[in-house]
């Protein structure tokens, strides 16, 4: 309680200027709500021994009205593979592939069942209050797809708070405009939130086309993108210790697909539409908790190109139902068991029909404390039945131990897997293939350090070593010479690496604060075995996986203003599996400055962001130019 009072006192003294701080002073506010504390998801509670990092609401404010793609590229050690502004942006997490990142919203995985990925340009940051990144595989807690790591989009209901209405306007280079409005209202036991957003951008930046004679300056063509959506959330406390929440999210995007530098002609157009509905019910007691949740996700993708034979439609419907019970024995032993049933229907012109799949999974977790709460130990297990075939048992065991001097030791061993996607199973040319899930073992050892909250100078750091071996790595190969391709379990991939993060905040005076944060990741993700004869990829780094990345953030807050500089380095990425071709490394800098002020009861935030301030010429993916220096101006007001 004393700690909470300290937090509140700090809040008053430092004011609202800690907009970019990574030190999670404010995150503790959510603990004050008993129900929310009880309802801590199993992903958080039983992930003992895993490196986790929460980008809280204060830091996310700087990326309001942007996408998760920009937020994660700047603030995490996840490498974001982008084909350009507005284009597909997927993730590579700890050297894994784009299908190996689980993205959890309302307790459900957002990975598309057809292609297994999440396009992070299609998730607005306004969808969530905070983002928690869990590094490393954990098939036991998250199920299929969490090989590289997981991203959780979390929100906290604001029971009892006054009605808040926010409007955000964003304008930027290359015709970028974004408008969003949200309203959060309700009573003590009921809360509703409505968010509506619209964005459009021409993305017609200039670049040097090195593929043409004389390397002329060109303007990007056929890259217009627009997206819009609406989110409605309701949370209600029923009687005592029961809570029901429901969410509805409709999103649609219409994009012109820009062509690479060396390709001329007409690009395609893509339309994405999705409707996601979830309901969650929780009943709590002093020592037990019962949870049931269900979701229905509809996703449509329409790709059209006047000259492309691959034009076509695909759509999927996913129904997920999960029941989970938790029991606490003498506040020391925590048990969690549950069952998940997922039914997927999908059809695509590429499949030539409609296919379905039924998955049933059971999972269980246990957590205990010892040595006066210094030691935490958790173990989890999951088993899944997929269309009458059992997947391998997924265990997880993790340990955390508080040492002296603010040091804490973390360790875990885990197994993770990824079920083949519908495209991999049911593409016309792939339907006769026998395909196994990718699966393997991993583990990590970490040491964290933090100085006490009371210091004017507060430092947090984390050093982690991890290792992972995944078998049956899926690679698309031609079925025979010509047009037919099909995925095959071709390789084993061995990944090992080190991550280091250090964040320091120095509170000089009541109105002046400095924040510095550096994150470093160095990894090898190499093919260790191959079923292909004479495969020169063996012993080589995976394509489009950087061996070295680091980010540095320097922010100064003065009263209600802040200015920050963000610098990122991305090492070279190979474009050929035998590492005979690569993309050069690049460094990017960006400057963010903002000011918050009040006029009567209305608060305003203005922010200016200068991206790629050194005007670096770079590509993230081969042959895809990225914009040079560009700006964003955000204006937000809140009633």
């Amino acid at each position: 309680m004393l700690r909470k009072k300290n937090v509140v006192r700090k809040k008053k003294t430092i004011g609202l200027c800690i907009l970019l701080s990574s030190v999670q002073v404010w995150a503790q506010r959510s603990d004050t709500l008993q129900l929310v504390t009880i309802k801590t998801s199993r992903f958080t509670k039983f992930a003992t021994g895993s490196s986790q990092y929460t980008i809280d609401s204060t830091l996310m404010l700087a990326y309001k009205a942007q996408h998760l793609a920009q937020l994660l590229a700047a603030e995490s050690q996840i490498y974001m593979r982008t084909y350009g502004p507005g284009s597909l942006t997927s993730s590579s997490f700890r050297g894994a592939s784009a299908e190996h990142t689980a993205v959890i919203w309302k307790g459900f995985n957002l990975q598309n069942p057809m292609y297994g990925q999440v396009d992070f340009t299609q998730i607005p940051t306004e969808l969530t209050d905070r983002v928690t990144i869990q590094y490393g595989g954990n098939g036991a807690l998250f199920g299929s797809g969490a090989i590289g790591g997981s991203i959780r989009l979390e929100s906290t209901p604001t029971f009892g708070q006054p009605t808040r209405t926010k409007a955000t306007l964003l304008a930027g280079s290359f015709g970028l405009q974004r408008y969003s409005v949200s309203c959060d209202w309700g009573k003590k036991q009921k809360r509703s939130k409505l968010l509506a957003y619209h964005e459009q951008a021409r993305n017609n930046f200039t670049f040097t086309n090195t593929a043409l004679p004389g390397s002329p300056e060109q303007r990007m063509q056929h890259a217009t993108a627009q997206q819009s959506g609406v989110v409605l959330e309701n949370v209600m406390q029923l009687r005592k210790k029961q809570i029901v929440s429901a969410a509805l999210w409709y999103h649609q995007a219409n994009r012109q697909l820009a062509l690479p530098m060396s390709v001329t002609g007409v690009g395609g157009n893509q339309i994405d539409k999705s409707l996601k509905a979830t309901i969650d019910w929780t009943k709590s007691h002093s020592d037990w908790l019962l949870m049931a949740r269900t979701a229905l996700f509809y996703d449509l993708l329409n790709y059209a190109n006047p000259v492309d034979i691959f034009s076509g439609n695909s759509q999927s419907l996913t129904s997920i139902t999960e029941v989970e019970g938790r029991y606490t024995l003498r506040a020391k032993h925590h048990f969690n068991v549950g069952i998940n049933q997922t039914a997927i229907w999908a059809e695509s012109d590429g499949y030539g029909g409609r296919f379905n799949q039924l998955r049933t999974a059971v999972f269980a977790s246990y957590k205990t404390f010892a040595f006066n709460q210094k030691l935490q130990l958790s173990a989890s297990v999951r088993e899944e039945l997929v269309s009458s075939t059992l997947t391998p048992i997924m265990p997880y065991i993790g340990i955390e131990y508080k040492l002296r001097w603010g040091l804490q030791l973390l360790a875990n061993a885990n197994r993770s897997y990824r079920l083949p996607t519908f495209n991999e199973l049911f593409w016309r040319t792939a339907q006769n293939q026998t395909l196994l899930p990718e699966s393997g073992w991993g583990g990590e050892l970490g040491l964290t350090h933090s100085t006490p909250n009371t210091n004017k100078l507060r430092i947090e750091s984390r050093l982690t070593y991890f290792e992972r071996v995944i078998d049956n790595w899926i690679v698309w190969q031609p079925v025979s010479l010509g047009n037919g391709w099909a995925p095959k379990n071709l390789r084993q991939v061995h990944t090992k690496g080190t991550e280091f993060k250090i964040a320091g905040t120095f509170i000089a005076t009541q109105s002046l604060q400095f924040t510095v944060q550096s994150q470093f990741s160095g990894l090898q993700s190499v093919v260790s075995k191959s079923n292909l004869n004479d495969d020169e990829a063996v012993g080589k780094q995976l394509i489009f996986v950087p061996r070295l990345t680091h980010q540095h953030r320097f922010v100064t807050h003065y009263k209600r203003s802040y200015i920050g500089y963000l610098h990122t380095y991305t090492g070279l990425r190979f474009t050929a599996s035998d590492n005979s071709g690569w993309l050069n490394d690049y460094q990017l800098g960006s400057i963010i400055a903002g000011h918050k002020f009040h006029i009567r009861s209305i608060s305003f935030v203005t922010q200016f962001q200068l991206n790629n301030c050194w005007n670096a010429a770079y590509t993230v993916m081969a042959d895809r130019p990225m914009p040079g220096r560009n700006y964003l101006i955000t204006f937000q007001f809140q009633l």
Binding site: P213, S262, G504, V516, S518, H567
Partner: protein
């Protein structure tokens, strides 16, 4: 304590603020001398939409291999999906499919002297006479006529299918209608579609034999249970007088012929051959492709050596394997990504 922490912070920042990834050893660009006695020009498709197509040249006299020849001699990348090579009037025509262009190169300097543009998706080029050539298209049911003096497209012939390989004989252009069951015949005097030959499913390659007969290879559609077929079109009778159904469950493509025009080679997961001198001969497997991903095929018209590319996972450099006419292994070397075509150039 504070001092220690500050040091910790400082070192942490400095260590990684300036750390950079080591680049692999970069091979300096090589300006190669023009081959005197002969060279193999090797087309490496590269990956679709990654702009990493390349040209490899093997100097047969010096036995030297030169990679990225176009980029090293022109200061820019070749483009996206290098489909095929042909030589016309002592100039190399490099057909770059997804860049919708043909780079015209001087084989003495390897430098681009012209770019023919305006295609939809060019595949192959064949010469008609000293002033014109014809180019097949993938994403268009059309054959383009290229003016060899101006290196521009000056005409289009509409056809009912997209076209793969073509040959010219007796003022007629025979065009393989790759998503049809026809080979289309264009009268080059009127430059109009005049007739067609009904063959198997998905014809892609055509060669002319020692009796001036046409041999047409159809890929088949293994996923639909349609086998590949090989057809002989009698040039005098104007009929298909021989059809061989290839009893294999893979698509067949890249029909090639030896210098004496009496022996056929093609790919259907393995390398197959047919001696057309013997009317009773049946296709024979020449090289087993198990564990390999055969993709490109070429036959040296002078030595009859067979060049086969193994594209492996399609994301690494291909290995080009050389065999003699009866399938004995002679050697191998690495070329670029997805080696698709060979042109044996003897100046």
């Amino acid at each position: 304590m504070k001092q220690q922490i500050l040091t910790y912070l400082l070192i942490g920042q400095l260590c990684w603020l300036f750390s950079c990834d080591d680049k692999p050893n970069i091979v300096a660009p090589v300006v190669i001398p023009p081959p005197v006695k002969g060279a193999v020009w090797i087309a490496n498709e590269g990956n679709f939409q990654m702009g990493n197509a390349s040209l490899t040249v093997l100097d047969l006299e010096k036995k030297e291999l030169y990679e990225n020849v176009f980029e090293n001699n022109n200061g820019r990348k070749l483009g996206d999906v290098f489909q095929s090579i042909n030589f016309i009037q002592n100039l190399a025509y490099l057909v770059v499919n997804n860049s919708q262009k043909i780079e015209v190169c001087d084989p003495k300097t390897f430098q681009s002297v012209a770019i023919v543009s305006g295609f939809t998706s060019p595949r192959y080029i064949v010469q008609h006479n000293s002033t014109s050539a014809f180019v097949s298209e993938y994403y268009a049911n059309a054959i383009r006529r290229v003016n060899l003096s101006t290196q521009t497209i000056d005409g289009t012939i509409a056809v009912p299918s997209w076209i793969d390989e073509m040959v010219i004989q007796n003022n007629r252009l025979y065009a393989a209608g790759a998503n049809s069951k026809s080979v289309y015949i264009i009268d080059l005097t009127t430059q109009e579609l005049t007739d067609s030959i009904i063959v198997g499913n998905a014809p892609t390659s055509i060669v002319i034999d020692f009796e001036n007969n046409l041999w047409i290879l159809c890929k088949g559609k293994p996923e639909l249970g349609t086998k590949p077929t090989l057809h002989r079109y009698h040039s005098i009778n104007k009929t298909i007088d021989k059809t061989i159904t290839l009893n294999i469950d893979a698509e067949a493509t890249r029909l090639r012929i030896n210098a004496l025009k009496n022996k056929l080679y093609w790919l259907a997961r393995d390398v197959y051959t047919l001696n057309i001198l013997d009317s009773n001969a049946t296709p024979q497997k020449l090289v087993d492709g198990i564990g390999k991903t055969f993709y490109g095929l070429g036959v040296n018209p002078k030595t009859e050596e067979i060049y086969v590319s193994n594209a492996k996972d399609y994301v690494q450099r291909s290995t080009v394997i050389r065999y003699d006419a009866v399938g004995n292994y002679l050697g191998d070397f690495n070329a670029g990504l997805i080696t698709s075509d060979f042109y044996f150039y003897y100046p």
